[in-house]
């Protein structure tokens, strides 16, 4: 197992491979190949083989990849064979949609706490949880040992939310606000940028 120092760009493709493998497994498929994955994902088969080779030997020449095995190995490599508790900051329309989103649980995440600072939102129920006052965030993050958070506040409040989360001990931030946030280099940050996905497609139009 040589998982040390895989380039970040390769790490970022593992969830894409995991998604495709999970989908195939759900359909009852047992074996796949880098060629088949390539056709489904628009990534060359050579790239897929090279990416996976950073983490071990998963396929056999001539027989391909055993889907559930490779899926389980990718889950382990990405540390999602467990479920991570997630804090959500911002209970507007987007926060509400995220709190009810069905796509987290199958991928190893559960939103366990929702925060906002608008008095009329505090105490509202969503997906079995109370919306809590932002001032409770440090205590809740500590008590529930939360290390992953989602920022779903307006752009003007995103940096402040990020600062508060980092201060509380969060190590990974997913930011929906369309601005760059500044955090210490030890903190992971990812952006949801729907316009970037649209630009990827308009290239072809």
């Amino acid at each position: 197992m040589v998982s040390i120092e895989a380039p970040d760009i390769v790490v970022g493709r593992l969830p894409i491979y995991l998604r495709a493998l999970t989908f195939m497994a759900e359909k009852g498929q047992e074996i796949t190949s880098s060629q088949e994955l390539s056709e489904k994902l628009g990534i060359s088969s050579a790239q897929i083989r090279k990416d996976l080779s950073h983490f071990g030997e998963f396929g056999k020449q001539g027989t391909g990849y055993e889907i559930t095995y490779l899926r389980d190995q990718l889950k382990r490599i990405l540390h999602v064979e467990r479920t991570w508790p997630v804090a959500l900051v911002g209970y507007g329309d987007l926060g509400h949609a995220l709190a009810n989103y069905a796509g987290f649980a199958p991928k190893g995440f559960e939103i366990v706490a929702v925060f906002d600072n608008a008095p009329h939102k505090i105490g509202q129920q969503v997906a079995g949880k109370d919306v809590k006052d932002l001032s409770e965030l440090p205590k809740v993050v500590r008590e529930q040992n939360i290390r992953v958070a989602i920022i779903a506040v307006p752009s003007s409040a995103a940096q402040e939310a990020a600062d508060m989360l980092v201060e509380a001990g969060i190590k990974a931030l997913l930011n929906y606000a369309p601005i760059n946030i500044s955090v210490p280099s030890s903190i992971q940050v990812q952006y949801i940028d729907p316009a970037a996905h649209l630009q990827h497609m308009t290239y072809y139009l």
Copy 2:
């Protein structure tokens, strides 16, 4: 200009470069380097130079990239020097958040029509538009020459929405529902998959 047959995976990184360059330009910065971009984006400088070389010669040895020039070239390559009209299907919490999202306009997109099939939503106003009945979609897409659409409906309705959009003439689909959708190979599809971004980060935790 050799933009023919750049790998899709390279095309997918151009919006990331464009985002970083736009951010630098807004800060008043004039020149950058593949090294600086590498540090900001977690992509190796060799990869960045190789990616850009598919589309032309943008940098000078020893002086780096002129930010606004490279930004404008990337906009042109991605076809976002214009504004694309976008149809949004689904006016739940997520649809409402997307209709009000401030991140589309600066990147070349404008949601011009919002559709739902729930009678009580039809006619509601959002960001200067009426929510329209889904049955009007083919007519509106044709009349406004819309080729890009966003699917923000529940998983159970996403394939049907995709079929309807493709039938109406849409060429690029951004799907928020956490399921794979099937479309003809001539249609571009991208997924918003927040759990994949979280998995990318938990690799490091």
